[in-house]
């Protein structure tokens, strides 16, 4: 029997992978991918809670839709910033963007 906890565990693991990628990667695009994983993890939670915890209202799924939307916007803006920085610095490796101290 698959329970809510199963989904939560998967989601936690995906979140951890994403967090690891976001924190450990040097490349900006790879960091972004890590962030996308984290958002997906949260979405798994939301959709799972919607089914197990709060059926009836669709708030969890709607939340997930909003998150997907925002993920797209975030990716669009973030990648644009990466491209702009790439034009200046000729690199997408974040620790090479070091005009200012971190």
């Amino acid at each position: 029997m698959i329970t809510l906890t199963h989904y939560l565990v998967v989601s936690a693991l995906v979140f951890g992978l994403g967090l690891y990628a976001a924190l450990s990667r040097r490349n900006a695009v790879a960091m972004l991918m890590g962030i996308e994983l984290m958002l997906n993890a949260a979405n798994i939670n939301l959709v799972a809670f919607n089914k197990y915890g709060a059926p009836g209202a669709m708030q969890g799924q709607i939340f997930a839709l909003i998150v997907i939307t925002l993920a797209a916007c975030e990716a669009a803006v973030g990648l644009a910033l990466i491209l702009a920085a790439y034009r200046r610095f000729e690199t997408t490796y974040v620790d090479d963007l070091n005009l200012m101290r971190w």
Partner: protein
């Protein structure tokens, strides 16, 4: 073992395996491509959770949209030349520890919390229910989203486009 359980474990395995590749592959392009099975695995989980509309959107936006954006940017920048470059920063070990601790904490909390374990009955036609909600109580979300999209578009174009004088 029911079909649902098999499907769950298979999808979870796909998601996690692909996610691991995303997080660790030294080849940026492989990471990006591995994102697709990871996202599709999550899509499968949505389907198992009776959220087929969200699943459809997940494929349409994530796999068909965001991934394309990411691939474009990789191709427009260093792309595969990154193969020769170190991909992990100095804090990778700390990052791993932090991530592992977070996961452990989250799993511990998730496991101990008395959740409602019985699945409830979702509305039979989720797109309809979502539509009703968006034009009803969630109207601010609906209209707000359009403003967010507008701003994201304006902002991203502003950042991405070349200066005329450049």
């Amino acid at each position: 073992m029911t079909g649902e359980a098999i499907a769950f474990y298979v999808l979870a395995a796909i998601t996690l395996a692909a996610g691991a590749v995303v997080a660790t592959s030294p080849n940026l392009m492989h990471s990006a491509v591995a994102l697709i099975p990871a996202l599709l695995g999550v899509t499968g989980l949505y389907v198992l959770l009776n959220a087929e509309f969200v699943a459809g959107i997940q494929v349409l936006i994530y796999a068909g949209g965001i991934t394309v954006l990411i691939l474009f940017v990789i191709m427009l920048t260093e792309g595969g030349t990154g193969l020769r470059i170190r991909q992990r920063n100095e804090q990778a070990a700390i990052a791993a520890a932090v991530a592992a601790a977070t996961v452990a904490l989250l799993i511990a909390v998730a496991g101990r919390t008395p959740w409602a374990h019985e699945p409830g009955a979702l509305p039979s036609y989720t797109p309809g229910a979502i539509g009703q909600s968006f034009l009803g109580p969630n109207l601010p979300l609906f209209e707000g989203t359009s403003v967010v999209l507008l701003v994201a578009l304006v902002g991203a174009l502003l950042i991405a486009r070349k200066e005329t004088g450049e």
